[in-house]
Amino acid sequence: MEFLKKTTEALKTGLRTLMPSCRQVARIQSDALERPLGVSQRLGMWLHLLVCKWCRRYGRQIRFLSHAAQEHSDDLTGCVPQNLPAEARQRIKQRLRSQGK
């Protein structure tokens, strides 16, 4: 019984040192969008995500935002409220006219 207790304690501390914090996992999940992760980073992240719903959400959310922006960059561009100002429009047309000759 004592032995079992000690083993689980050791396992817990072992896991804790192996397991990165949420703060670190946030960074690792962003890096995962940029480059292949090292083995220990991947393992640590995987272990952490098994037990932490906040980090699972965080990862899902930054991946969602990243994909959304790339696939809907046109929507984002479209919702810029300003239009090409009238004087700029005239100026550009004039430049084009003089260049076209």
């Binding site: 914090s21 890096d31 969602f64 935002l65 929507d75 300003q82 090409l84 550009i92 084009l96």
Partner: protein, 228 residues
Amino acid sequence: MRFSFRIGAGPLLIRGILKPSVQTENPSAPTDENPSTGLSDPERWVETHGDYLFKFALLRLRDAARAEDAVQETFLAALKGGRTFAGRSQEKSWLVGILKNKICDHFRKASRETSFTDLGFYAEEEGDRFVTEGAHEGHWISEIGPCEWQKTGESLDNERFWQTYRDCSAKLPEKVAAVFTLRELDGVTGKEICALLGISESNLWVMLHRARMALRRCLEANWFAKEK
């Protein structure tokens, strides 16, 4: 019509985004001796595509005068290129391709004058939301950790969501925004961004991480937590 950098244009345009402007002045030598780009044509371009190109440039350059310049240079380069197209969407893609190069030229020039590395922004990395001591140091404080986002798919079709997204990304400081926009909106690779702006990959990763963190938090506060 839906035009997308990534999906529609594919790797060609993305590669094209980094070509020096000399090449883009004349994207493809017109072979036909029948330049139908008469006087009226370029002026129609301005009417048809001017607003879109301006919005496109303004979102990325964040300065109206710079955006106007980029649009003007784009039309002038297009005039020299002198091509005709079967459809307007093709024409638009072509113009956007030239504009992207002009925007990259701007960033390349700017990076020679000032460093694009910004490690000050959000350096605390949401320190107020993590446990600061004890066995759980560095873990999300349960009550204020990321909340579950509802109806993410529906949000994508909602114009107000994109306005919120834009407002949130507009809060990023200039250099972080430049990096973030190139990477997340335009899908430029990290290596290309580093070469364009003269920053190191490790600094790029820090900046992207913090930008994503700040944007996630802003959208959570102003959209996903609000909707309910």
